[in-house]
Every structure is written in C-alpha cells, then in structure tokens.
Amino acid sequence: MTQNVHIRLASQRIDNTIVGTSEVPRLYTPGEIITCRSGFMRGHGTYMEEDALTASVAGVVEQVNKLISVRPIKNRYNGEIGDVVVGRITEVQQKRWKVDTNSRLDSVLLLSSVNLPGGELRRRGTEDEQMMRKYLQEGDLISAEVQKIYDDGSLSLYTRSLKYGKLCQGVLVKVFPSLVKRRKTHFHNLPCGASMILGNNGFIWICPTVSEDEENGLGGFTENLLEVVPRTDREVIARLRNCILALANCKMMLCDTSILYAFEESQKYEVLELLRPEPMLDVCVLTQQRLYMQEDE
C-alpha cells in the first residue's frame, strides 16, 4: 500500500496571484465618495451623503446608464430570476423545502414547483405532502432555476423542467459565486467525459455523463445508488474538481472553456498532484495564456 505524506514549510509558500494583462479595476471602500455630481441613481452598495454618492461596500463600481452600484468583492449569492443554481435541501417543511443556495437566506422550493413522478400535471394532494421526504430529503442536492425573488431577498426556485431536478452520484465543488461567468447555458456535457452544472450561486456539480435517452426516463426523482461509476470516469471527475479549485484559488473566472483548458493543461500531472500549490499555479498560468491566445484570435 502506498502512502503519501507531504509536509511543507510556510517559507515555501507560493504567490498564487496571476496578474493579467487587463487593468486591475479601481476598488472603492465603504465611505468613499464615488461622485458628487447629481443626476445619478443610487444602486446597490451605495448611499447618499450630502448630495454625494458614497460606497457602502468594498468593491467595483458598475454603471448602467444612470444607475451606479458597487459590486462587492466577496459576496454571498445574489439571485436573479432565471439563474441556474445548484442547492442542497436543508429542511422539509409543510408544502415546501428549504434549500441552501449560498444566499443570505435559505431559498424555498414549493411542492407545487417540482415535477412529481407520474405525470407533470397532477394535483398535489395531502398524500404528496406526506411523501415529501420521500422525494427530497435533508441533504439532497438539486439543480433548479430561480423563479421569483421575495421581498426579503430570499429566492423561490422551481424544477419544473426535465433538465432540473434531483442530482445523482457526483461531486459538489463550492466556489465564490462571483467567479462563475454568466453564460447562455450552464449545463455542459464536456468532451472529456463528464457533465457539469455551473450553478450561478457558486455551487458546481460534476457527474458522469448520462446519455440522453436515459436522462429522460429519470423524471427527476430517482437515483441509482447501485450503479458504480467506473474508474476512468472517476479520474476525470476528480481532475475536473481539482482544476476548478485551482482556478478558483487563483481567482480566475470559471466557464466551460476555462475549465476545459485547465483540464487539458493538467494532463502532465497526476490527479493527486493537483492538490499541491505548484502544479495548481502552473495549470492556472497555462490556462490563462491559452485564454489570451484565444482572445487574440
């Protein structure tokens, strides 16, 4: 049996910031005046003090026409309608589930917003209420879409589409929500042999690719616990996981392209090696270069 024990020294610590070619944007700190001119609208992360628009959080200023807002550097997930999220059930309540989506407040998944087994358009009876824990219990993972934002900022989710629903075997990776690039699609069947859901909330789900026809039969609520994921799939999943964490560690934006590049660049290392800082940095630098090259093209 092999065993690996690596103990490094703090002096060997490496700097994992990758300075890109693009300029570092101007950061504002709370209390700093953004502008004294009038005619702007006050957005999130700002407040008015004696006619001056002032930042209330530390972050980057964003301007949309007349609206000025400050996007904080580090933030919990602020949901927007239509976002794809991955979440974990934390509580089963009357007619609804509470879902942890990395937001300030737990999100809500109503019993009426899910597809129940046996037909989409079925009335939800008391029987279904009692069966709720059978469908989704504490700890279960789901992919869903944000349907509504309540007044208190909590989100209402729905899974009434075949692509959403309960997630089966795989790995969840948590990163900062701001690192996930907004794209048209967040569901990816990667050519390397795994599927990935890049949740807008920073929860990323990696699982073995399921063929189309199989998926249709799932209906969202069955999980195959007997099926053993083969070793090759596992290696791909583990490599993807480590690559994503490496990219996130270097604060690089995550999208299917960057992840795929990182995956390809990491091939010279063993999966296990990707847990160490040097290979992690190396992969990130190479990925960054490829992204620039692509941009230039």
């Binding site: 092999t2 024990v5 103990i7 700890g139 309960k166 999966v271 160490r276």
Partner: protein, 291 residues
Amino acid sequence: MAEILLSEAEKTFILHGVEEGFRCDGRMRLDYRPMEVETDVVSHASGSARLRLANTDILVGVKTEIDTPYPERPREGKIEFFVDCSANATPAFEGRGGEELGTEISNSLATAYQSSQTFDLTALCILPGQQCWKLYIDILILECGGNLFDAVSLAVKAALHNTRVPKVKGACLDGGTVDLQLSDDPYDCCRLDVSDAPCLVTLCKIGDHCVVDPTAEEETCSSGSVVIAITEKSLVTSVFKTGVGSFHPQTLIDILKVGQTIGLSVNKALRAALLEEEQQGRKKECFGFLK
C-alpha cells in the same frame, strides 16, 4: 463533530470511490492532503506552531510556568492541554457547541502523552518534589476542515519542538521556600526532546475500507474511526474510537497495523520538515497567516 449534510447519492459516490481506491480528490486510501507547517509564529509564547491541512488550520502556543510537582511524581514536570474551538472555525462551535469536541481532543492528547515513554517530563523538573516547569499547551482551532486529531497532534509536536524553556542557573532550598535564578539572556535556554512525542493517526472506516486524512464529506460517510497515537519508536500510546460504528476484532487488528506504518511516515515527514526549517536558520520573517 460538525456534521455536514450530504445526499445519499453523494455518499454512495464517495463510498464506491473508497472501494475503488480512488477518492474524490484523486487520492488513494492512505494518502494525506498536503500540509503546511510553520513554527515560532507567536513571539510571546515559549514555543508555537501553526499547521494547515487543507482547510483545517491549527495554531498551538506553548507557555511555561513554574509549578510544584505532583506529590506522587516528584521528579516530573507537568503538561496541560487546552483546546479552544473558536466560533470562527465553524458556526457549529458557537456558544458551548465546541466545548465537547474541545475536551475530547484535549483528553485524547493528555492520554497520548501520559506515558513516560512518550514525552519525557523529567526534563521539566527543576528541584525534585519542590519545583518544576509546567507547560500550558493552548491549541486554537482556527478553521475546521476535517481530520482535527491528526492536525492538532502534529501542530502540538511542532510547537513542542519549537519550545524553549529558560535555563535555570541555580536553585537552592532556603528553609521552606525555593530560590531560583533564571538566566537573563533570553537566548540561553533549553530545547525539549520531542522525538518520542506521539502523532495521532485517524483511520476512518468507510464501507469495508479505511482511509486516512478524511475530508469533512468523507467523515460524514464514515461509520466510525479509530484514532491511534504512534511515536517514532512505533509505540502505541493511545487508541480510541470516535463516531458511532463498531469494528470486528480482526478489522481492528488490521487497522492498528496500518495505523502504525502510517504513523511512522507521518512522524518522519514532520521531523524532516522541522529539520529543514531549522537548517534555514533563524528566520527573518514570519509568514504567518497571510496566504
């Protein structure tokens, strides 16, 4: 332990991975995640160390104080462990939440260091029956990312390695009171021999196999773990079980044997790292906590 939620499917995935010998992060069953150690991080302590194992972050400070030895052990000094599970580590430690875990860890360390074959307490004796050094070992859990026992024991051993006890130039008994003369030079001090200090190895049983250095997710899947304290001379100084599961006696014997070999390599790795740091000479800068 702060339990995290996992779905059944995730648990199955982890379980099958362990069976396969290929864990979610690409490790084999007996691989540790990379660790990082730094000693002498707290300037006011007699000795200190900080150890980071993935997301688990431990800071250990050693303080020395003069005390009277136990009447039944007049030639030995004292050692006391205190674990502070700060609420910063995980919200579950808030209030009194971390207290139970804290006493569990400090008790396990006390047991592992109990035998005189581990850490030689006689070196802490000043005047037999009258005065001795007492080492207060304060362990701060800054972040909790699983596998606390292993990380804490390594950090403690590193901190003890770093500990400098002031030299006593002279001690004499004057009537009932003891007169001590300590060296004025702060650099004139004794080191402690930590070669026999034990390291704790947690073997986490997932399915029918055991893994070392479990992540928080893997800990959730486990039915129970065996923690073994091993010294460099491969003596077992403490064994105990955590979690709710139970073991077949034969499994237990196998686990003990595996634990022993791992314990030896962990001890070796730590020793190598500490030696290397020492060779770098007196550090000018402390890297501390900025990552």
